[in-house]
Amino acid sequence: MVDIVPLSSYPSNIDLLPAIQTCNITNLPENYFLKYYLYHALTWPQLSFVAVMRPRNGYTKHTGPGGSADLSGQYPKVVGYVLAKMEEEPTDGMQHGHITSLSVMRTHRRLGIAERLMRMSQRAMAESHRAHYVSLHVRVSNNAALRLYRDTLGFEVDKVESKYYADGEDAYAMRMDLSGMWLDWSEIEKQDRERAKGDEKDADEGEPVGEMGKKDDKMVRVKVGRGLGVGDLVERNEAQQQSVS
């Protein structure tokens, strides 16, 4: 039986990363260092999901030093995953999600796993990050994936990106609106506004504490280090072609 679990939210399944990497390199030609998976898991922990075979005797969590004799409950077999992110510097200025990679072992197809992984990720993009839409790339020849995105999930082809893949194949750039799934924050924000008004009256200008805004969020290069900071890593991997099976 296949379970769909979050990668690094609660509970954390981050110890599945090597198996996710194995699943990717077994199935797809577009591969990444483990660090790139870590980067996804630690920047947008809400957005990635994993499909695992439920172990015969159920799941066990790490049991302390020395491990346990039988690790099959702790390291279940990974049969699919979706690795997703938020676009960091959206060219259109719209917050949106992006599917970095999605694959399901061919021995586990026709169970609707890819669809479920996608829906979980899309929902998290809308709820946690107020993503306006989600985008992805798919090989023009990949009919099965195209059917999933267009017919089942409701994606639309945005444009064709010529020679997107390393082997020269074109990609459809697809996207789907997510704003309908946003959470309603109006009540909370109304309360905040009212509170702010009340505070203004008896304002006692204190020093602003901390950096609330998102402006400091931009990646800072690690100044000194072993060659590469995470910032470099991201750019380099963006240069590599990414895909969706």
Binding site: F33, T107, W185
Partner: protein, 840 residues
């Protein structure tokens, strides 16, 4: 004190620093040289030049210069800081920390030094040091939230949960108004606090807290999961039921939610009717789901099971779901369920599937029926190929029928290959898997499987050739270079194991070390996140990552690699001539001539082969030179100077090298009996009796009747008895006392061995172990033991793996060619489709 510079030089020095920061290394060196022409002993400049030199990859020169800089200016924080950075680049973190500390003593207010020190303390898990560093960083800049969070992390990981929570709360209290709801840094920091509260064990408080914060939290799913978990653990059943219902409405494909829901509802395990009703509800609600239909098969019995299984199987077979069998096979530990499944599907292929359980016979077109039939044959093929229901000739019959109906189905063809594998015919298996690959050449999954099967028959070259259809072959090192760079652990491990089987130890070690290095890289990967995650604010994910990194090498991928590497080093230690290649050691144990002429000849032949391989490798490298030599990051990558692993295999001390792989294995997988048994082999050969005994004791507590352990107990006794000089009295006392509890000294060993055999009747591995001991105890019984070993082949219980282990045992015993041939012939007859019993 930094030596003063003239104003022109001072400005040049600022340029050096800027060039370094902008990675304009050549310009940096030029400017530094300009200063040094006038002030040849200026420590700070030398230090900066050293730092740039190190970034250009010239570590030796860099270190020499940095040392000179320090000699010229012991009191410069720049010199010490650079010295630390150089050590860090070499991953000598202890020395780096020392150097940073010196720098910080000179310049206590320097934020960059403080930060670099803190990062290393985190990497080294020096939590007390980290608490200190983060405290002073917080004092210096209390306005930054991340400084508060970082201190909380330090306390949390050091185990002081109370203090961690206090730090977070102190910061929260400075917030006059709640940050906007979209402020994820805030949201995550608050969630992190909840995680700490829950870990402290105060679930009531954690629940109260999460309910209070929930409306503003952005990670909606995590809030739901945490709350549901707390409720259930607190026994607040009605609320827990509601919480898990809500989770299932989000994701109905998660068996853990169902388990929790049923616990919350308080349904007893044996109330199958009530259980089934729960699952039926969800199956109706989400008709396309699988979990709610599949799980009841686990608990239903008798006729109920049969009906449910019938409905489930037919539904999935009609949909042609290829994973149906892997989804079902866990039921087979219950033999009656196994038999029901078998008779149901056998029924389908003989045309007894018409009546759907709900009564409405489906109107099938011919096409649908054909898919149903081929899926059913495919299911049966896997069924009869599975070890709990194995009948390989039936498996083959069914897979052929499936293929006949759908010759283009890759999965069917793959299963045919797997059947051949179980027949013990790796050549046929690889051949059939290759056919499967050709059915869909654009699919990497089947390509990977084809390569794996080629490795299983020790065809490393062909396997790599297959893999290269999906790798970036312009990488330095070609396809193999890409597989290393992309950290393709499964392939490198399989490749290594194939070389080990061929006793090509250089290449085997090369690959094992390749995987070892990947684990090092994975450990190193966390470094950048110590600062990155504080900026991003996703603290729970970060803390989870740190904890995972601490047990990284517990991963089964590490265990498998390390076991292989240790075996390779043991083999190298036992047969040092293998350093020249497999040809140097005659595997068939042909009679050695007194003057060793045969051996000399063999070594000469092996050396010649090694030279040939080196030449081939050099040619390949030459051919690649014409193509680009740049990695994907634009870095110039060097060709590996030892692609064949010749340097690795020439080690003077294989056992010491083995220890490198062994230490993490014992630290993280001490409950793995194979690890303990291999560790024993290493320690025994190193004359480390106390350590060897510790492994025996550990293995004994895992499985007292393990066959390998049984033989090792005897070998340890014999090793103790046959020592030429006695152990040091203190060691001897401990060893003798401890070992006496495992195998008492006054025990009659023959009786001990025979009672082991009697207690484990029917198990072939135990019988093999007892026979090994018998001929160790009385070497003159060897011919009889060989005969007895051969007669294990008559057992109904013997698997082909057991049979193969028996053949290897004859090698271990040093049996002659005739004995081996007799055994192999008999085994070949028993497993007539196999090829593994052909002697080379």
């Amino acid at each position: 004190m930094p030596q003063p510079l003239g104003s022109k030089e001072a400005s040049l020095f600022r340029q050096v620093v800027r060039h370094y920061e902008n990675k304009q290394y050549k310009k940096g060196i030029k400017a530094a040289d300009q200063i040094l022409r006038k002030n040849p002993n200026h420590g700070d400049t030398q230090a900066m030049k050293a730092l740039i030199t190190s970034n250009l990859g010239q570590q030796e020169e860099a270190f020499a210069l940095a040392k000179e800089a320090l000699r010229n200016d012991m009191k410069s924080h720049i010199c010490w800081h650079v010295y630390g950075l150089l050590y860090r680049a070499e991953k000598n973190y202890e020395e780096a920390i020392k150097a940073y500390r010196f720098a910080l003593r000179i310049e206590p207010e320097s934020p960059p030094i403080q930060r670099d020190l803190a990062l290393l303390q985190m990497q080294m898990r020096d939590y007390q040091g980290y608490i200190q560093s983060r405290s002073s960083m917080l004092q210096a800049r209390p306005g930054f939230r991340q400084n508060w969070t970082a201190l909380a992390i330090a306390h949390h990981l050091a185990g002081d949960l109370e203090e961690a929570e206090k730090v977070l709360t102190t910061y929260e209290e400075t917030l006059k108004t709640p940050p906007p709801v979209w402020d994820m840094e805030h949201s995550e920091a608050v969630m992190y606090k909840n995680m700490i509260i829950a870990e402290s064990g105060n679930l009531e408080k954690a629940l109260e807290h999460i309910e209070a914060i929930a409306p503003r939290m952005t990670d909606v799913l995590a809030v739901m999961e945490m709350k549901a978990d707390y409720l259930l653990r607190l026994g607040r059943k009605a609320e827990a039921e509601a919480a898990y219902t809500a989770l299932l409405e989000r994701n109905s494909e998660h068996s853990v939610y169902y388990d929790a829901l049923i616990k919350a509802k308080g349904i007893p395990e044996n109330d199958h009717k009530a259980l089934k009703a729960v699952y039926d509800y969800w199956a109706d609600k989400y008709p396309r789901g699988d979990a709610a239909r599949r799980i009841p098969l686990d608990f239903l019995e008798g006729e109920d099971f049969k009906q449910a299984a019938d409905a489930y199987l037919q539904r999935m077979l009609r949909k042609g779901v290829p994973s149906l069998f892997v989804n079902i096979k866990s039921l087979y530990t219950n033999p009656s369920k196994r038999d029901v499944v078998q008779s149901l599907v056998e029924g389908y292929v003989s045309g007894r599937a018409a009546q759907q359980p709900n009564g409405s016979a489906e109107d099938q077109t011919n096409g649908d029926n054909k898919e149903f039939l081929s899926s059913s044959y495919y299911f049966l093929a896997q069924h009869y190929n599975y070890h709990l229901s194995r009948d390989l000739s039936k498996a083959m019959e069914n897979v052929n029928k499936a293929i006949e109906l759908d010759p283009k189905a890759v999965e069917y063809q793959m299963t045919k290959a797997r059947i051949w594998k179980h027949y013990g015919n790796l050549e046929k298996a690889a051949e059939e898997m290759e056919k499967a690959r050709l059915l869909d050449e654009k699919d990497r999954h089947i390509n990977s499987k084809a390569a794996k099967y080629q490795l299983r028959k020790n065809d490393n070259d062909k396997a790599l050739d297959n893999m290269s259809k999906f790798t970036r072959n312009e990488t330095v090192g070609g396809a193999l270079g890409d597989l290393h760079e992309m950290q393709c652990v499964w392939y490198l491990t399989e490749d290594a194991e194939a070389y080990l089987r061929q006793r090509k130890l250089g290449l085997a070690l090369k690959r094992f070390h390749g995987v070892y290095n990947i684990f090092d890289a994975w450990q190193e990967d966390q470094f950048d996140f110590h600062s990155f995650s504080l900026r991003k604010g996703m603290i729970r994910a970060y803390v989870d990552m740190v904890r995972w990194e601490d047990r990284l090498r517990e991963h089964p991928l590490y265990t498998r690699m390390a076991l292989g590497a240790i075996k390779a080093y043991l083999l190298l230690h036992d047969q040092p001539d293998l350093v020249h290649g497999p040809e140097a050691v005659d595997v068939n144990g042909a009679a050695e001539t007194p003057d060793g002429a045969e051996k000399k000849k063999a070594i000469k032949k092996a050396k010649k082969e090694q030279q040939r391989l080196e030449k081939v490798e050099a040619e390949k490298r030459e051919a690649r030179k014409t193509t680009s030599a740049k990695g994907i990051d634009g870095e110039i990558k060097k060709e590996d100077p030892d692609p064949l692993g010749n340097k690795l295999v020439q080690t003077q001390d294989p056992l010491k090298e083995a220890t490198k792989f062994l230490t993490p294995l014992l630290a993280h997988s001490s409950k793995n009996i194979e690890a303990q048994c291999l560790a024993f082999e290493v320690y025994l050969r190193r004359d480390k009796y106390a350590l060897a005994l510790k492994c025996l004791a550990a293995a004994h507590s895992i499985d007292a009747s393990n066959p390998t352990l049984h033989v090792q107990l005897l070998r340890f006794r014999k090793a103790l008895d046959s020592r030429s000089e006695p152990l040091p009295p203190q060691v001897a006392e401990v060893v003798n006392a401890e070992f006496d509890t495992l195998l008492p000294k006054n025990q009659n060993l023959t009786e001990w061995n025979e009672s082991f055999l009697a207690a484990n009747k029917g198990s072939v591995p135990h019988k093999q172990a007892a026979l090994t001991c018998r001929q160790l105890l009385k070497p003159d019984t060897k011919p009889k033991c060989e005969k007895d070993l051969s007669s294990t082949l008559d057992s109904d219980l013997i698997s082909i793996e057991n049979g193969l282990a028996g053949l290897n045992l004859l090698n271990e015993w040093g049996s002659d060619q005739a004995a081996k041939k007799a055994y192999a012939d008999k085994a070949s007859k028993k497993w007539s489709e196999s090829s593994v019993f052909q002697l080379g």
